[in-house]
């Protein structure tokens, strides 16, 4: 059963795959933070 992989520093394609994931996650987090801020204001109000 495969449990671990090790990516070589020269494996730019694999590294950029994970960078893309991180970028999209950061974008989603930012949008959710904006929604959350509105929700928290209305909750306090």
């Amino acid at each position: 059963m495969l449990t671990k992989i090790v990516i070589s520093p020269s494996n730019k394609e694999a590294i950029s795959f994970f960078e893309e994931i991180a970028k999209r996650k950061a974008e989603i987090k930012k949008r959710l933070e904006a929604k959350a801020a509105k929700r928290l204001i209305s909750h306090k109000g």
Binding site: T3, I5, V6, S8, I21, A22, A26, I28, R39, L40
Partner: protein, 174 residues
Amino acid sequence: MIKDFYSYIKEEESDIISYSFLTITNALYYVYFDPYQYALHVEDYPNLLKLGYGFGFERMSKPSNWVEDPLIFSTISQIVFDFIQDNGNEVVLLYHCDNSDQKQKGRDKIFEDWYRKSELNTEIFKKRISICHRNSEDQEITMFMGYLTSESNQSKSQIEEEFQFFAENLVDKH
């Protein structure tokens, strides 16, 4: 079935589905399902990604006091269960522990513990791998990635094969 959980709301936007709930200590959580995270790779991994969603959750506000709250993971479990019920047993939820603050190991451990204790672990299959690499500052980074799918997913074994193939492919790119 989940015995108890927080009430939650579901919001659908053009490119993301999110659920949110507020805990008794006023911590606001969002659970999200992103149909576009892996969409570019569907052709290569049809069973894994045909109904594949990027899955994650975030706490958006600090609790008023730090107490252990089992209802948080019960609620996330309920939301996962709800999402699979709405979208079918073929749904695959792919996750990648956030490593932007170097706390991915803790997140992986919490998520693993949650799964083991969860009322859903008999109904939901979880697979995860660790991925090690050195960043540009020559620091060793370990990331964690995996998926959840229903035990009733008829393509479960093909999905497992494709996930392994995906990992092998990443390594084989040099």
